[in-house]
């Protein structure tokens, strides 16, 4: 019975996340289009609302091209590694009070682990494609993810210290009981570092060097086509959703809100998560790409010291006050 309930939960979450991925692509194109005073997709359905479905069908029926020089097994595995690790991270996210597929005690660490694992997919894809662009993309991705993983982990240490737990539900509960209700205020430095690292971790503009289309064709997924490419695409968007959810849980108080919305326990959670997803689009429409050395300098010289300082500050204040 327990197992069945978990299975049902998995199906619900999977469906909801996949629909969100579909429409995240649509809204990204719409939002960026309007920010650039264009319209975005307009043809498929009313204002292009069926565009993601058309894209899906197109990707599904496209020819699956595999380079002759590619390392076949790794080439096949890479997009799956990306997608599976991105999807499994969703499992620990508590969408509301009692709803998480797996309410485990090391939730935060698990999400870190999964997002690092996703970068394996990127690196392996770049390696196995046997193409210089893919290879450069993969290399950049590995360097970038290693650098920003540290900053991201350190930025959340403050949250862990305040909450005293790695369990995501417990973090939300701890926030509800804290004096500010959300950790955004006491952890503003951590929040800043986390948001910047979040962009880098999901390979989004301004840190989209692994797939910098103006330099590397498409980076690590240059040689991928059809459905395999779509898997990478989905993994990227699921990564965005997971990171948005993580930001909501760790800094904005998860599902808690100023008042209860009857019947929709996840109302505030979704609203906050949508804000972060919108932020992704907003930043993409605004900022150009960082240069590689700037990216590394920002990561190692600014974000990591800032995060360490934040830990020091949090620790000091916590030991002084209580």
């Amino acid at each position: 019975m327990e197992l069945l309930w978990i299975l049902i939960k998995i199906i619900i979450v999977f469906t909801v996340v996949m629909i969100h991925v579909m429409y995240a692509t649509y809204f990204e194109r719409k939002v960026i289009g309007h920010m650039q005073v264009r319209m975005g997709p307009m043809r498929v359905g009313w204002h292009g609302v069926l565009q993601p479905i058309a894209d899906g069908i197109k990707a599904f029926f496209k020819e699956d091209i595999i380079p002759t020089a590619a390392d076949k097994k790794v080439f096949y595995a890479a997009p799956l590694i990306c997608l599976i690790s991105a999807l499994s991270a969703v499992a620990v996210i508590p969408f509301f009070e009692t709803f998480a597929i797996a309410n485990i005690n090391i939730g935060l660490l698990y999400i870190f682990a999964m997002s690092s694992l996703a970068s394996y997919g990127v690196v392996l894809a770049g390696w196995s494609s046997n193409s210089k662009y893919s290879f450069l993309g993969g290399l950049r991705s590995s360097a970038q993810v290693i650098s920003y993983e540290i900053a991201m982990g350190l930025s959340l240490v403050g949250v862990m210290m305040l909450a005293g737990s790695l369990n995501l539900s417990d973090i939300v509960h701890a926030q509800m009981q804290s004096s500010y209700k959300i950790y955004l205020i006491p952890q503003i430095i951590g929040f800043f570092v986390f948001v910047v690292a979040m962009f880098a971790e999901t390979n989004r503009t301004p840190f989209d060097l692994p797939e910098a289309e103006s330099e590397l064709v498409a980076g690590y997924c240059t040689e991928y086509s059809g459905m395999r490419f779509a898997l990478f695409f989905m993994a990227e968007y699921i990564g965005m959703i997971v990171m948005s959810c993580l930001a909501v849980i760790c800094f904005l108080g998860g599902w808690s809100g100023p008042f209860e919305v009857p019947g929709i326990p996840f109302f505030w959670f979704i609203l906050k998560a949508y804000f972060f997803i919108f932020l992704y689009y907003w930043v993409r429409a605004t900022l150009p790409r960082y240069r590689y050395d700037q990216l590394m300098a920002l990561g190692w010289k600014v974000l990591i010291p800032l995060a360490l300082f934040n830990i020091l500050l949090t620790g000091t204040i916590k030991s002084l006050i209580g």
Binding site: H34, M35, V37, R38, M42, W282, L287
Partner: protein
């Protein structure tokens, strides 16, 4: 030159990412502005008179044939040499008779010299621009095709052939006396000599003065 930085300001800017926030503000503002997109096949931008589109030979309402007198000016002035004219001479009167008139639209650069130079306003570039095709043949216009282009254009515009005017049929800024008879057509007030400024004897004068 030494660049002076306002270090204090720069520090504040760098810490609070002011430039990035400014950029974000701008994009957010644009999000709520009206897109400039013209949804092309559904919406079309208005064309101005003198738009240089598909070629046509004006069909003379009286004779129902082309007005061309085979003077060869268009073929001579054409920079890309895409006009081919053949004519025969009447042995008695010496009058030229047009045998064929061909335009290779794929070579044409749409400069409009041909319609500008034509003394009888026989050849024009119409406002039709949607005539793409899969082969090259349809772009090689012979006389019949050019006359048909004119008929199609009139039908599309729903216009009397006498009403059609474009700035090339009577070049602006030139005194009427210097124009060939065929080009002395009626034009709207703003196209006439009044207010036209031309360059004469090293200074800009109104075209009317220059005419005197």
């Amino acid at each position: 030159m030494k660049i002076k930085y306002d270090t204090k300001k720069r520090l504040v800017e760098q810490i609070f990412l002011l430039e990035i926030l400014k950029g974000l503000k701008l994009t957010l503002k644009r999000l709520f502005s009206k897109p400039v997109t013209v949804q092309y096949p559904k919406e079309k931008k208005p064309l101005f008179p003198g738009f240089r589109g598909r070629h046509a030979l004006i069909r003379d309402p009286k004779t129902k044939a082309a007005k061309c007198v085979a003077c060869m000016r268009c073929a001579t002035v054409c920079p890309s040499r895409c006009i081919r004219i053949r004519f025969s001479k009447d042995d008695e009167t010496g009058a030229r008779k047009l045998e064929s008139y061909e335009i290779d639209a794929l070579r044409c650069i749409f400069c409009g010299y041909c319609e500008e130079v034509c003394p009888v306003n026989a050849v024009v570039l119409t406002e039709e621009y949607e005539y793409s095709d899969y082969t090259r043949d349809p772009f090689h216009f012979d006389m019949e095709r050019l006359l048909k282009n004119w008929d199609d254009f009139l039908e599309k515009k729903k216009m009397e052939p006498e009403k059609y005017l474009n700035p090339y049929l009577r070049p602006r800024g030139l005194p009427v006396g210097e124009l060939p008879v065929g080009k002395r057509v009626e034009v709207p007030e703003e196209w006439t000599m009044e207010g036209q400024v031309i360059w004469k004897d090293g200074k800009a004068v109104s075209a009317k003065e220059a005419d005197c």
